[in-house]
Amino acid sequence: MRIVVCVKLVPDATASRSFEPDHTVDRVSVDGLLSELDEYAVEEALRIRDAASEDGEVVAVTMGPQAAADAVRKSLQMGADSGVHVLDEAIAGSDAPATSLVLAATLRKLGADTGPVDLVVCGMASTDGTMGVVPAMLAERLGLPQLTYANQVTVDDSNGAYRVQVRRDSDLATETVEAAAPVVVSVTDQINEPRYPSFKGIMAAKKKPVQTWSLSDVGVDPAEVGLSAAWTAVVSAEARPPRSAGTVVTDEGDGGTRLAEYLVEKKFV
C-alpha cells in the first residue's frame, strides 16, 4: 500500500511565540517541531504499512519554509520511507484553501511520478492554526472520499482492492464509515500512542530520499497561494492579557451570601 502522510512543522508551544508585522505566525525565529497531532498520523500510517500483507511505503509530505523539512525528517526518523518538501517563497501566509491546493497538486505529481497513492493520512488539525479543514478540502480537490476524525482505521485488502474503514466517536454515537481506496483519512489524538524515533531510526533517516519541489514543479500558480491570495485577512493580533487574580471572598459567616451577590451582580444567575 502506498500511503502519504501530510505533516506540518509548528512553533514549539512551550517556547515564546510571536507574530510577524503582517500578523502571520513567526515561523523563522522560533524552534519548530512536528505538530503533535501529525505524530498520530505518522504513527497510524506506519502501523497500516507494517500490518499489510504486501510491502508498502509511507511518504511524508510537507510544505513551508526551509525549516519545515524538519517535520519530514522527524517522520523519516519514526519510520517513513521517503519525503517531499514543497518549498517556495510564494507559499508564505497561505490559508487553508491554498494549503489544500498545494498539497493536492503535490499528491497528483507524486501519483504521476511514482505510482498511485492508496491512502492519504492527516492529523485532525494543526496545533498552531487548528483549522481542521485541510483534510476535507484536500479530499474535495482530489475528488476522493474523506473519512475524517478517525479513532480507528482498518484496511481490508482481501479482494485485491483496498477498502478503508474508520470509526468515528462522537458524544451521541459511534459511526463506522468506509470507502474504497484511494481515500483521505484524518486521525484524532485518541487513535494510537506515537512512537519515539530510535537512534537507529535517526541514523537510517539520513539515508532516506527527500525531494524538494517548487510551486512550478507541482504546477501551482504562485498567484493562487500566499498571504495576498488568502480568503480572509487577520486584521490585528494581540497577546491576551494575563488573567487577573480574581476576587477573594473571605468567609466571615456571610460567605454564601456574598458569593450569591457576586453571581447576581455579574448576571450569572
Partner: protein, 384 residues
C-alpha cells in the same frame, strides 16, 4: 531553557532533541513521585533501551550507537536533569558493559554483547564490599577454579540495580596478591547462589535500588572470565575512568536542574514588592550558580574529548569528577537557599536535588580518592 550545546554532527543534534523530548514527556513528570515512593522505574529503562539510549558509546557491530563520549555524556546530562536516578542508572549500565566491550574476546563479545546492549537488559557493576570501599584491594570475595567453572563466594556492597539487573560485572579474588589477584566476571542474573540484601535506606536517589549482592558458591563458567585471570583490578580502575565521566555528566545535569528551578522561582517570587530576582544580592548567587554549572560542563567535556581522541584522560576524569560533583553540591545547596523556606520543603524539588548531589561526591571513588588519583598522576608526570 535548553542548554546551548556544540555538537559534532547532525545525528548528535537529533539525538539530543530526542533525549530532551523523552526526558520532558516520560521522565520529568514522574521523577518526584517515584522518588518519594522509592519505586525503581524499570519501564523507563526499557523505553530508553528501545530507543537505543542504553548503548550509545558502544560499537554498532554489537548493537551500540557508536557515539563519542562527548555526545553520550551530553545525552546522559539531559537525562539526569530530568531524573537523576535514571541518569545514574544509565551511567552504571554503561560501566557494566564496558569491561566486556573492551577486554572481552571476540567470541565473548559476539556471544554476550548484543543482548547486553540490545536495550532489554540492564547491568550492574560490583566492585565495593562492606569492608573494602576506597581501599578496593582489600576485597575478600573469592573465585575458586573448579574445572570449567569458577565458584564465587563473598559479599559485594552498594550495588546499584542489585536484584533488578540482568547481568552483574563482579570483581573477585583469584589469588591473595593484593592488586594482581583480582579477576572480572560476567555473572548473569539467575545464576545459582546469588542473593540480594534489602534495599539500602538512602538519603537520596531513592528510586535507584542499591543492595548487597551475596554470592554463596555461585558457579560462573570460565568462559565468563573477562580479560586475563588477575587483570581485574586494572579493568576495574580503567572502567572507573569512564564511569567518573558518566557521574560528572549526571552531576552537571542535576546542577542544571537546580539552577533552572532557582531562576524560575526567583523571577516569580515577590518580596518587598518586587521579584526577588531584582535584588542584586540574589542575582550574584544565581550568577555564581550559572558559572559553576558552565565551568563544570566544560571540565567534563574536555576530559571526554581527550578520551575520544584516544589520549590519556585518567587525571582529567578525576578532576572532572571532583569539580563537577563539588559544583553540583554547591549549586543544589544554593538552589534551596534561593527558594527560602519553600526550598526546605518536599513540595519543591530543590531539597531533593541537594540530597541527590551529596552521593556524587561519594560514589565511584570519593572526592578524597579523586585527589589521590590526581596527585599521583601529577607527581608521576613531574617525575617523568
Amino acid at each position: 531553557m535548553a542548554v546551548d550545546r556544540l555538537l559534532p554532527t547532525d545525528e548528535a543534534r537529533d539525538l539530543l532533541a530526542l533525549t530532551r523530548e523523552i526526558a520532558a514527556e516520560q521522565l520529568a513528570p514522574r521523577a518526584s513521585a517515584d522518588e518519594a515512593a522509592s519505586a525503581f522505574p524499570r519501564d523507563v529503562f526499557a523505553l530508553l533501551g528501545g530507543t537505543g539510549l542504553l548503548a550509545l558509546p558502544y560499537a554498532e557491530e554489537y548493537g551500540g550507537g557508536e557515539q563519542p563520549y562527548e555526545v553520550y555524556l551530553q545525552v546522559l546530562e539531559e537525562i539526569a536533569t530530568a531524573w537523576m536516578s535514571v541518569g545514574v542508572g544509565v551511567s552504571v549500565h554503561s560501566l557494566a558493559c564496558w569491561a566486556l566491550a573492551t577486554y572481552g574476546t571476540d567470541e565473548q563479545q559476539k556471544r554476550l554483547l548484543p543482548d547486553m546492549l540490545g536495550g532489554d537488559q540492564l547491568g550492574a557493576y560490583c566492585l565495593s564490599e562492606p569492608a573494602a570501599g576506597s581501599d578496593i584491594a582489600a576485597m575478600s570475595t573469592r573465585a575458586r577454579r573448579d574445572g570449567d567453572h569458577f565458584v564465587l563466594t563473598g559479599t559485594k556492597a552498594w550495588i546499584t540495580h542489585g536484584g533488578e539487573a540482568d547481568f552483574y560485572l563482579v570483581f573477585a579474588r583469584t589469588s591473595a596478591d593484593r592488586s594482581r589477584g583480582v579477576s572480572a566476571f560476567h555473572v548473569p542474573a539467575g545464576t545459582s547462589g546469588l542473593a540480594f540484601g534489602a534495599p539500602e535506606n538512602k538519603m537520596g536517589l531513592t528510586a535507584s535500588t542499591t543492595t548487597q549482592l551475596v554470592l554463596d558458591e555461585a558457579p560462573v563458567p570460565a568462559s565468563h572470565l573477562i580479560g586475563d585471570e588477575g587483570a581485574g583490578m586494572r579493568i576495574a580502575l580503567a572502567a572507573l575512568d569512564g564511569g567518573r565521566l558518566g557521574i560528572s555528566a549526571c552531576a552537571v545535569g542535576l546542577a542544571q536542574a537546580a539552577l533552572d528551578t532557582a531562576v524560575a522561582y526567583a523571577t516569580e517570587r515577590k518580596q518587598f514588592g518586587r521579584p526577588i530576582a531584582d535584588f542584586q544580592g540574589l542575582q550574584f548567587l544565581l550568577a555564581d550558580m550559572s558559572a559553576a554549572v558552565e565551568s563544570a560542563r566544560a571540565t567534563y567535556l574536555h576530559a571526554a574529548r581527550l578520551r575520544d581522541a584516544g589520549r590519556p584522560f585518567s587525571r582529567q576524569a578525576s578532576i572532572s569528577k571532583l569539580v563537577t560533583t563539588d559544583a553540583a553540591m554547591r549549586v543544589t545547596t544554593d538552589a534551596v537557599q534561593v527558594l527560602g523556606g519553600y526550598g526546605y520543603t518536599r513540595d519543591f524539588p530543590a531539597e531533593r536535588y541537594m540530597r541527590e548531589a551529596k552521593v556524587t561526591q561519594i560514589f565511584e571513588g570519593t572526592n578524597q580518592v579523586q585527589r589521590l588519583v590526581i596527585a599521583r598522576h601529577l607527581l608521576a608526570e613531574h617525575a617523568g
